[in-house]
C-alpha cells in the first residue's frame, strides 16, 4: 500500500511530510474521500458481495457462492443474446465512430471555409441528453412520418421503407446509427487537436517532395495519428460496453431482445421483473465488469504491440 513520497514538478524535497503536515492533508482529502468511499467504493464491494447471494422477500438473504454465475453462464439464453448484441454494438460502433470522427476532422484540417462554424455544429450532439436524442431519433425512424421513410418514398424506394425500430432485423443497426450520430463529433475534436499538434516540418517536407495529398494523408498523417486513434478506440469501446440510455429510451431492449444489451438486461432483472432478487443482476454486472477489464487489457496490448513492431 505505502508508496514512496514522490517529488513532483518544481517541488522541493525539503517539503517532505512532517508529522504536522497530516492535518492539512486530511482536511483537504478527507471530505471527497469519504463521499467517494461511501457512495462509490462501498457500493462496488456490496455489489460483489450481493452477487454471491440470493435475496428473498422479507429481507432473507441466502449465500449461494458462485451459483448465480453458474446459472448465468449455463442457463441464461437472454444473457447470451445480450452479450452478442453488446459485442456487435461495441465492435461495429467503435470502428464507425472513430472513422467518422477522423473523416470529419480531416475535412476541417483541409482548410474548408467556415471551419469553426462546422466544428461547433458537429460537436453539438455530444452535449445533448440521450433522452432528447433518443426521442428525436424515434421520430426520425417513424414508419409514417419519419424523415428516413419520407425520403425513401420520395426517391422511389418506398418498398424499403419500414418501421426501423420495430423490426428485429434492423432495430440494433438503427440504434447504432443514432449512437454514431451522437459521438462522431467527440472523436472529431480529439483528432483535430492531434492534427494541429503534428510537427509542421514533417508536413512541410512531404510537400517539398511533391507528395500528393492522398499519399501525404496515407503515408505521413495517418501513421502519426495512430496513438490518438488507439486511445479513442479503447475509450469508445469501453463506453459502448456499458451502453444503457440510448437503448432504454429508443427500444427498451426490444423487439424480441433484438437490442437487449447487458446493461438493459441488468436493469430489467433488477427493477422490472419484481423478483426482489438483486443478487442475480449483481452477478451479471460483476461478470460484465470483469469482461470489460479483460477486453481493455487485450485491446490495449494488441494495438500497442502492433505499434512497437511498426516503429
Amino acid at each position: 500500500m505505502a508508496s514512496m513520497p514522490q517529488v513532483r514538478h518544481g517541488e522541493r524535497t525539503s517539503l517532505t511530510p512532517q508529522r504536522s503536515a497530516w492535518i492539512p492533508i486530511i482536511t483537504f482529502v478527507a471530505p471527497a474521500l469519504i463521499i467517494y468511499a461511501g457512495f462509490t467504493l462501498f457500493p462496488v464491494l456490496k455489489t460483489i458481495y450481493d452477487s454471491m447471494h440470493v435475496m428473498k422477500p422479507h429481507n432473507a438473504v441466502e449465500f449461494v457462492g458462485l451459483g448465480n454465475y453458474r446459472a448465468l453462464l449455463t442457463h441464461d439464453v437472454v444473457f447470451w443474446k445480450a452479450v452478442t448484441n453488446t459485442a456487435i454494438f461495441s465492435l461495429v460502433g467503435t470502428v464507425c465512430d472513430v472513422a467518422a470522427g477522423l473523416l470529419l476532422a480531416l475535412c476541417l484540417f483541409a482548410k474548408v471555409p467556415m471551419a469553426r462554424f462546422w466544428k461547433v455544429v458537429w460537436f453539438s450532439p455530444v452535449l445533448i441528453s440521450y433522452v432528447v436524442v433518443g426521442i428525436i431519433w424515434v421520430w426520425i425512424y417513424d414508419q409514417d412520418w419519419g424523415i428516413v421513410n419520407t425520403v425513401l418514398r420520395w426517391i422511389g424506394l418506398g418498398s424499403v421503407a419500414h418501421p426501423w425500430l420495430g423490426d428485429p432485423h434492423t432495430a440494433l443497426w438503427a440504434v447504432l446509427a443514432t449512437q454514431i450520430w451522437k459521438w462522431a463529433g467527440f472523436n472529431m475534436i480529439v483528432f483535430l487537436a492531434a492534427l494541429y499538434a503534428l510537427p509542421a516540418d514533417v508536413l512541410g517536407a512531404a510537400e517539398l517532395d511533391h507528395c500528393g495529398w492522398l499519399a501525404k494523408l496515407v503515408f505521413v498523417i495517418l501513421p502519426m495519428l495512430r496513438p490518438t486513434a488507439v486511445s479513442l478506440l479503447v475509450l469508445s469501446f469501453v463506453g459502448k460496453m456499458m451502453i444503457f440510455d440510448v437503448v432504454w429510451i429508443m427500444t427498451r431492449g426490444g423487439p424480441l431482445w433484438s437490442t437487449e444489451t447487458v446493461s438493459t438486461y441488468v436493469y430489467k432483472r433488477a427493477f422490472d421483473w419484481n423478483t426482489f432478487d438483486l443478487g442475480y443482476p449483481s452477478a451479471i454486472a460483476v461478470l460484465w465488469f470483469i469482461m470489460i477489464l479483460v477486453f481493455v487489457a487485450v485491446l490495449t496490448r494488441l494495438l500497442w504491440q502492433h505499434d512497437k513492431l511498426e516503429f
Binding site: 500500500m1 508508496s3 511530510p17 482536511t27 467517494y36 457500493p43 466544428k119 494523408l217 456499458m242 454486472a285
Partner: protein, 276 residues
C-alpha cells in the same frame, strides 16, 4: 493537402461538409420547429415551417405539464451537486498535488479508477443503500450520488492543473504567514479559475443529461428531473408530439445557451476530461 486542391475537389469537400452539417444540425432545427407548432399541424405536415409560431406552448408546458417543476428539480439537484463536487474535488486535488504524503499515489489511483467503473457496478447496491439511509426518492440523496460520480473526473482534471502551479508561489505565501487552507482558498483556487470553471461546466452538462441514477433513485412525479419528466411525458402523451417537442426544447435550451457562450471552453474541456 490544402495546396493541391483544385476547385472541383474543393466544391466536393464543401458539399460533403454541408451534407454532414444538415444531418447533424437538421434534427435540432426540426425539433425547434415542432416545438412551436401544434400536434394537428404537425400530423398534417410534419416538415412545415412554423408560419404561425405558438409561443404559448412553452407557457402551457411549463405550467400545465409540470415542466416548471421538472426544470426546478433538475436545476436544484445539478447546481448543488456541481458546486459541492467542484469544491470538494478541488480541495482533494490540491491535497494530492501539493502534499507528497505516504500513500499519495495509491490514493490517487484508487480515486481515479472510479472513472472506469460502469454505473451498473454501483447502481444495484446504491438502490439498497439509499433505501436504508432514508435517501431513496429524495433530491438530496441524488445530489450525494451525483457528487460521488463526478469526483474522480473533477479531481483528475484539477490535480493535473494544480500540480503545474509553481511551488514558489506557495512558498512565498507560506513566508507571508498564510495558513494551509488560506493558501488553497486565496492562491491555488484563484490561479486555477479557468480550470475550475471548465470542470464545473463539464460536470453541469453531464449531470443535466444524467438518466440512469435518476431513474433508479427517484419515483415521485414531483421529484422527477427533466430527463425523467420527458420520458414520463412520452409514455403518457404518445400522440401529443407537439407538446413533447416543446419539452425537448425546454431541456436543451440551457445547454445550447451555455454552448453558444462557451463553445471553445466546452469543446476543449470535453476532450481533456475524457481522454485519460
Amino acid at each position: 493537402m490544402q495546396k493541391g486542391l483544385v476547385p472541383l475537389k474543393k466544391i466536393t469537400l464543401l458539399l460533403f461538409v454541408v451534407v454532414c452539417s444538415v444531418i447533424t444540425g437538421g434534427p435540432f432545427l426540426w425539433v425547434a420547429a415542432l416545438s412551436l407548432r401544434t400536434t394537428p399541424e404537425i400530423l398534417g405536415r410534419p416538415y412545415g415551417f412554423p408560419l404561425h409560431p405558438h409561443f404559448g406552448k412553452f407557457l402551457k408546458a411549463w405550467t400545465q405539464s409540470n415542466y416548471g417543476q421538472y426544470f426546478w428539480n433538475s436545476t436544484v439537484v445539478v447546481v448543488t451537486a456541481v458546486v459541492i463536487a467542484t469544491l470538494l474535488g478541488a480541495m482533494a486535488a490540491h491535497g494530492l498535488a501539493r502534499y507528497p504524503f505516504r500513500g499519495n499515489r495509491a490514493l490517487r489511483f484508487l480515486i481515479l479508477s472510479g472513472m472506469m467503473l460502469p454505473p451498473q457496478m454501483m447502481i444495484l447496491s446504491l438502490f439498497q443503500i439509499m433505501f436504508s439511509l432514508g435517501l431513496y426518492n429524495s433530491l438530496s440523496g441524488l445530489v450525494v450520488v451525483y457528487v460521488a460520480t463526478q469526483l474522480p473526473m473533477t479531481i483528475y482534471i484539477l490535480e493535473t492543473f494544480f500540480s503545474h502551479i509553481p511551488q514558489d508561489l506557495f512558498d512565498a505565501a507560506k513566508l507571508d504567514g498564510y495558513a494551509d487552507f488560506e493558501i488553497f482558498w486565496r492562491i491555488a483556487l484563484p490561479v486555477a479559475t479557468p480550470a475550475v470553471f471548465t470542470t464545473a461546466l463539464l460536470n453541469f452538462i453531464i449531470l443535466w443529461n444524467e438518466f440512469l441514477y435518476a431513474v433508479v433513485l427517484l419515483t415521485d412525479n414531483s421529484k422527477r428531473t427533466l430527463p425523467l419528466g420527458i420520458m414520463f411525458f412520452m409514455g403518457g402523451h404518445q400522440i401529443d408530439v407537439g407538446m413533447v417537442a416543446t419539452g425537448l426544447m425546454i431541456t436543451i435550451l440551457p445547454v445550447l445557451l451555455l454552448y453558444s457562450c462557451f463553445s471553445e471552453t466546452m469543446i476543449k474541456g470535453m476532450a481533456a476530461g475524457a481522454v485519460r
